[in-house]
């Protein structure tokens, strides 16, 4: 099964080590950077969709 990184919009493998549980749901990321960005402001990405790789 493929997952979408909610920060950069890329496809992510199920077994990635970068994942966060937010409001009872699991989100997967392609990298530490995306995961950190999500943690900072999860609502932003859930509301407005992927924004590309964080700077």
């Amino acid at each position: 099964m493929k997952y979408i990184d909610p920060v950069c919009g890329m496809e992510v493998d199920e077994n990635t080590q970068y994942k966060v549980m937010y409001k009872g749901k699991v989100y997967r990321f392609c990298s530490q950077q995306c995961m950190d960005a999500f943690r900072k402001d999860p609502e932003l990405y859930l509301r407005e969709g992927p924004k590309g790789m964080p700077k």
Partner: protein, 746 residues
């Protein structure tokens, strides 16, 4: 300054699985100063880097710190070079394309090179290194090489010891022709390794001890041939004595080296007894074989006791000499000794992966440490021999042309200078000290992976401890719990059964079906058990993901289907050693911090009882950040953890230490692997001793040359006169003393 030439490098990147990885790797490569262009291809995994003057090592480091890996290969070479020549070899490797990193071991005469296989291969590498570099194959170990060297020296010494007395006797009896005849084997067989060594060094445009010995003995021998025809005094005896004396010293030194470097190998079993009594090579043992060990024998393989019982001495691994009783089901390690009893052991690991083999491999890497003072030594070594040759020439000029002595007497002073000077002691000073201390640490249950840790650990002023399993036993028990939904604990137990976290073991086993499972390191877990969504973890994690509408809390919270399920309080015992070790560290003015993922009040309690600062509720990444922050504040931080969950923090720290009783050593990160907390204090004393020994050895090496070279040149003549052969004896024993002094544990 080297030219700024544009170069292209190809690297094989490992671990890229999505398009973002490509960006991350590209970015990391471009961040290296000097990189002009970097192209990374996801499909082929190849990175093409265009750069000016960037070291391959920095590129690889950049990729690795971004969380990916670069394909590299490693090969170990045996080189025909003396310790003092290694700086030149290293310089050559620095300039060679395709070399990522190298670790040299001047004491054993080996160098391990990590290289980019896309750019260079082992054979070319050996040619580029020069000095007859031979790759060490599997069947030829370091020990074999060191022993071969020892045996070669011994053979040459025996020949020297047999013929030299005749050379001397005939010289005393004034029979110079016989003296010459008997000196030929000494000069050209026993002395061959020095003439050959000198030839190899000069061919590689460098100089070493061999050049001095060869020059000194050949000057005396060939001039004596001339003197023989001119009916003047000859010095075949001095030349033969010189070579023999040098060989005595070098043989003793090689013996010490062989003993020290094969200390672990000597414990490695070679044969195993099968159940039917047949003796086989340990390398042929497979997992599942049964080996028989009788009283007084070495245990031949890592395994579990299948039958029998007996007392086993494991001091080689633990430093503890009291034997431990082993019975059915207990693990045993190859290399430990069955003091009494009888054991049948079920082999669980092939011999090449046995614990002792792993230790041997790690420790061998540690031998190749480079201490900071070495760069000064390298600079001195580089100019040492040319300076000595200059001094020898000046000595001749002064005695003959200024003071008016005969050419023969002047020559003897000059040759004595060549024979007295000892660059070897300089080259041996720090490698020998590190070798001995690393071995000593192993004997006390401490496995050193980086030999330079001795130098670093002394400077540490802050130690960050992980809590669970490091300061505490790590065996959790459930103190009490409260269920908000009936059967919640059963669901939680089932979810925990999938986790590797130490807390998970506190829960009873459960047979309920777990259909999906996610672990969030440092936070908690999610599982679907029998169709229920189960979230278990620390307070903040569970509350963020659950409608937590009760006003109570515990060490661990459990949420079932979005509603409060249970609160669970956990307990763990502080290790007995912890109190003592921490008070000792504090006495040494070391700041002690506990960093833990545990966010419960228990974390504060542990901190309070131990009297240390507490940072709690940290994820593994937070621990890395904590170490980074302390470092940026100027602290020299050591991180001590279990080596797996804290791997990143351990790597980030100035000194990383893993505390573990596990036997799969490669799993653990860190410069050092220790078995219990008290080892920290041992490591500290070993570090102080190692650094002191290095300094003393270097002090001796420098001091010896500073005193003996002028005496050999005749500054105290006629009060003190040092003939060339005795100068050589002093020289040889100067490096023996460095080796011996490294061994003395005071």
């Amino acid at each position: 300054m080297s030219l700024r030439i544009k170069k292209e490098e190809q690297l094989k990147i490992i671990g890229m699985h999505c398009a973002t990885c490509v960006n991350t790797v590209t970015k990391s490569l471009k961040s290296v100063n000097g990189v002009i262009q970097a192209q990374v291809n996801l499909a082929s995994g190849l990175a093409k880097v265009e750069h000016t003057n960037v070291k391959l090592k920095d590129l690889v480091k950049a990729v690795r710190s971004a969380g990916y890996d670069v394909l590299t290969e490693k090969v170990t070479f045996k080189v025909s070079a003396n310790p003092e020549t290694f700086p030149q070899i290293e310089k050559r490797l620095e300039e060679l394309d395709g070399v990522v990193d190298y670790k040299s071991n001047p004491a054993l005469g080996t160098i391990t090179v990590e290289f980019n296989p896309l750019q260079i291969d082992a054979v070319t590498l050996g040619k580029e290194i020069g000095f007859n570099a031979q790759p060490i194959s599997q069947n030829l170990t370091h020990e074999d090489l060191v022993k071969m060297e020892y045996r070669d020296l011994l053979r040459k010494l025996i020949v020297g010891a047999i013929f030299t007395p005749f050379v001397v006797i005939f010289a005393v009896l004034r029979l110079p022709i016989l003296s010459m005849i008997f000196s030929v084997p000494v000069q050209f067989y026993s002395g061959l390794r020095y003439h050959k060594g000198a030839y190899i060094a000069l061919k590689n445009a460098t100089t070493n001890m061999d050049v001095l010995v060869s020059l000194a003995s050949n000057i005396m021998w060939f001039s004596s041939v001339y003197f023989l025809f001119e009916h003047l005094q000859t010095f075949f005896d001095a030349s033969a004595l010189l070579i023999t004396f040098v060989l005595v010293g070098k043989t003793v030194e090689a013996y010490i080296k062989a003993r020290v470097s094969s200390f672990l190998t000597s414990y490695k079993p070679s044969k195993a007894r099968l159940k039917d009594g047949e003796m086989v090579d340990v390398s042929s043992l497979k997992v599942g074989d049964i080996v028989v060990v009788k009283s007084g024998e070495e245990i031949s393989a890592d395994g579990v006791v299948e039958d029998g019982k007996g007392e086993v001495n494991e001091s080689i691994f633990t430093g503890e000499s009291t034997p431990v009783l082993k019975k059915k089901g207990d693990p045993v390690l190859a290399g430990s000794v069955l003091v009494n009893g009888y054991l049948e052991v079920y082999v669980t690991r092939p011999s090449e992966r046995s614990y002792i083999s792993q230790v041997e491999k790690l420790v061998r890497e540690a031998y190749s440490a480079r201490v900071s003072i070495q760069s000064l030594v390298d600079k001195v070594s580089e100019v040492f021999v040319p300076v000595i040759i200059t001094v020898a020439i000046l000595t001749f000029i002064v005695w003959h042309f200024i003071l008016g002595y005969s050419p023969i007497s002047s020559m003897l002073f000059s040759v004595a200078v060549l024979a007295a000077a000892c660059p070897c002691a300089l080259g041996l000073a720090s490698p020998m000290a590190v070798l001995v201390r690393v071995n000593n640490a192993v004997k006390r249950g401490i496995i050193i992976r980086n030999g330079d840790v001795f130098e670093r650990f002394r400077l540490v002023d802050t130690i960050v401890f992980d809590k669970t399993g490091t300061l505490t036993e790590g065996t959790f028990k459930i103190k009490d719990y409260k269920e908000y939904q009936e059967g919640a604990m059963k669901l939680v137990s089932a979810a925990e059964s999938k986790s590797n976290h130490p807390i998970a073991r506190a829960f009873e086993r459960s047979d309920l079906k777990v259909s999906s499972f996610e672990e969030f390191p440092g936070e908690g877990i999610y599982a679907n058990v029998n169709g229920h969504d189960v979230i278990v973890g620390k307070e903040s994690f569970v509350k963020n993901n659950c409608d937590w509408n009760v006003n109570e809390s515990g060490d661990v919270l459990a949420c079932i289907d979005g509603k409060p399920g249970a609160i669970i309080n956990i307990e763990d015992r502080i290790k007995e050693d912890a109190f003592y070790v921490i008070s000792e560290l504090k006495k040494r003015k070391i700041r002690v911090i506990m960093a833990t993922g545990d966010s419960s009040k228990y974390a504060d309690e542990v901190g309070k009882r131990l009297g240390i600062e507490v940072f709690k509720g940290l994820t593994p990444n937070d621990k890395v950040e904590l170490v980074k922050r302390l470092k940026s504040e100027g602290y020299k931080v050591a991180f001590i953890g279990d080596g797996i969950n804290d791997a990143e923090a351990i790597k980030e720290a100035f000194v990383g230490i893993a505390v573990s009783n596990g036997t799969e050593l490669a799993k653990y990160a860190g410069d050092v692997i220790i078995k219990d907390l008290k080892d920290i204090l041992t490591l500290l004393s070993e570090s102080n001793l190692a650094v002191r020994k290095i300094k003393e050895n270097l002090g001796w090496a420098f001091g010896y040359n500073a005193v003996l070279v002028p005496i050999a040149a005749g500054v105290l003549y006629p009060r003190i006169y040092l003939p060339p052969e005795y100068a050589a004896l002093a020289m040889a024993f100067s490096s023996v003393i460095v080796s011996l002094w490294s061994l003395v544990p005071i």
